[in-house]
């Protein structure tokens, strides 16, 4: 093993260039940026989804028994988690609270313009539109509101970014493979004579391949570590700035998930390095 490591390292030093390492680091960095965007979007998405509520507006003339019956009807719909009755008075005081300094507006209105409502929580956010439409078909309902449109848009934006990330990942990983493959090719050329002798005297294929796999691993590790560290530092700098400028954007500020992503990128770089090294050497050695 010491021989493989020594040969792999020696060969890396001889054949890897700053340009190829830099190109690789940039490729993985860009991939990491997309990964971070995706992570943040899905974070926003899951925050919103967990707070999704259907507000059901009820006709004014409905009283105690009617409201109770309606509540039961809503509760019996499949997928409904919890139904909370909010009386028009309660609704008004909530509104006043939300308005804060402008609470005076409520007084100007004179009488309470709000209807009685039910706040409906569902088990699965995806079924919200379906449940909302079923509720709206019940008698004595004047309307439902669950932020129609916005949820769908956020969801489709997240899907788009996810697909873009996957496409980009394939392209960039192709580039990484190419770079590692090229480095391995150079070392293959510079060690052609040695490999010929190794085959001649009876070295096994694995023995011949190990130094190249290690070289691919080292190149992958160096390139991806560089980008992993840069990504981490840049992201930390960004969130501290963004925290000052736009504190309302719910971005991920904890260290752990970002560090995990960076570590994942390094792992990916190493894997791609070994894979590219292996594929290339296998193809060119005909062993």
């Amino acid at each position: 093993m010491r021989y493989f490591l020594a040969e792999g390292w020696k060969s890396t030093k001889r054949n890897v260039s700053l340009i190829s390492l830099g190109t690789m680091a940039v490729s993985i960095f860009v991939l990491g940026v997309f990964g971070l965007i995706l992570m943040n979007l899905s974070n926003v998405n899951s925050n919103l989804r967990s707070s999704i509520e259907i507000r059901v507006y009820v006709e004014d003339n409905l009283t105690g028994q009617g409201l109770g019956a309606l509540k039961q009807q809503i509760e019996s719909i499949e997928g409904v988690h919890r139904v909370t009755y909010v009386s028009k008075e309660e609704g008004l005081s909530r509104l006043a609270k939300q308005l804060g300094e402008k609470a005076g507006l409520v007084d100007i209105l004179g009488e309470n313009p709000l209807p009685d409502t039910f706040d409906v929580r569902v088990f699965n956010a995806d079924s919200t539109p379906d449940i909302a439409s079923r509720i709206s078909n019940l008698p004595h309902i004047i309307g439902v509101n669950y932020g129609q449109g916005f949820t769908e848009k956020l969801l489709s934006a997240t899907r788009f970014i996810a697909v873009a990330t996957v496409v980009l990942a394939v392209i960039l990983l192709g580039a990484v493979m190419f770079i590692v493959g090229n480095t391995v090719r150079l070392s293959l050329v510079s060690r052609a004579q040695e490999i010929e002798v190794m085959k001649l005297v009876g070295a096994t294929d694995w023995f011949i391949m190990w130094p190249f796999l290690i070289e691919g691993m080292i190149v992958g590790f160096l390139g991806s570590s560089l980008s992993g560290i840069c990504l981490y530092v840049v992201y930390r700098a960004c969130i501290s700035r963004l925290g000052l400028v736009a504190p309302f954007i719910p971005i991920i500020t904890e260290t752990a998930p970002v560090a995990r992503l960076c570590a994942g990128l390094v792992g990916l770089g190493v894997l791609m390095g070994v894979f590219a090294g292996g594929v290339f050497i296998k193809k060119h050695l005909e062993i």
Partner: protein
């Protein structure tokens, strides 16, 4: 019987015939010269024994085992018992004499503690132990060939194949190399050597297999380079 060719034909993808229906056997400890004009099939004969190529038809047996049928993963182990030396030595220029020989043991995963003694023994056998720390380009052609022989025999192979080992050397140096090869043969290693050097073949009077157009046209137990009728070689003074 160590080596047996059974109806071996080799046709290359280009259509050229390397060997055609060759039948022969070579016993353990024999010294065999392969002679014949260029393109007669000498190198094909040797390459079949190291499994560098496979025959189009027929079987090559080594110690009773059909080496044309062994799995690719077994080929390296075959090459530890059938070693080959070449006209162009194939030494690694960035390694010393010692390291060139040790390389063959290291890459075949010989325990590190055994390597030193084995390398020194091999260098001594070929008479180049005093130049162990020199690099190939500091040596003469004959000395380089000795190093390549040392590298070939260091794992104690059963068979040593020599593809025109004296092709690049002057007559005097060639005799030195022949002396080394004979010494190795006396230790029990089977040696098969292809050559164009009539003088060497004629003087040493070993078994001679002559190939022409891929066929064995002559197999003499104590032969000479040409057939008896054409024999006209000048012996060394």
């Amino acid at each position: 019987m160590l080596i047996r060719f059974y109806d071996v034909t080799k046709v290359y993808p280009s259509g050229a015939t390397g060997l055609f229906s060759v039948n022969t056997f070579i016993g353990k400890g024999e010294f065999v010269f392969l002679v014949g004009p260029s393109g007669a099939g000498k190198t094909t004969f040797l390459k079949l024994l190291t499994r560098e190529i496979l025959p189009t038809r027929g079987q090559v047996l080594l110690n009773g085992r059909n080496i044309t049928r062994i799995r690719p993963t077994e080929v390296p182990y075959l090459r530890r018992t059938v070693r080959m030396i070449f006209q162009d030595f194939k030494l690694l220029p960035n390694k010393t004499v010692y390291d060139n020989v040790a390389f063959a043991l290291m890459v075949t995963e010989k325990p590190r503690r055994q390597i030193g003694a084995l390398v020194n023994e091999a260098l001594k056998l070929v008479g180049i132990e005093s130049k162990a720390e020199m690099y190939p380009d500091e040596l003469s052609g004959g000395e380089q060939q000795r190093v390549s022989i040392a590298r070939a025999i260091v794992g104690d192979p059963t068979v040593l194949l020599a593809d025109e080992p004296t092709g690049n050397l002057d007559m005097e140096t060639s005799w030195d190399i022949m002396e080394v090869l004979l010494r190795i043969n006396k230790r029990g290693t089977t040696v098969i050597m292809s050559t164009h050097n009539a003088t060497i073949v004629d003087v040493l009077k070993q078994r001679v297999i002559e190939l022409d157009n891929g066929r064995i046209v002559r197999d003499d137990e104590k032969g000479v380079y040409e057939g008896e009728a054409e024999y006209n070689a000048v012996l060394p003074g």
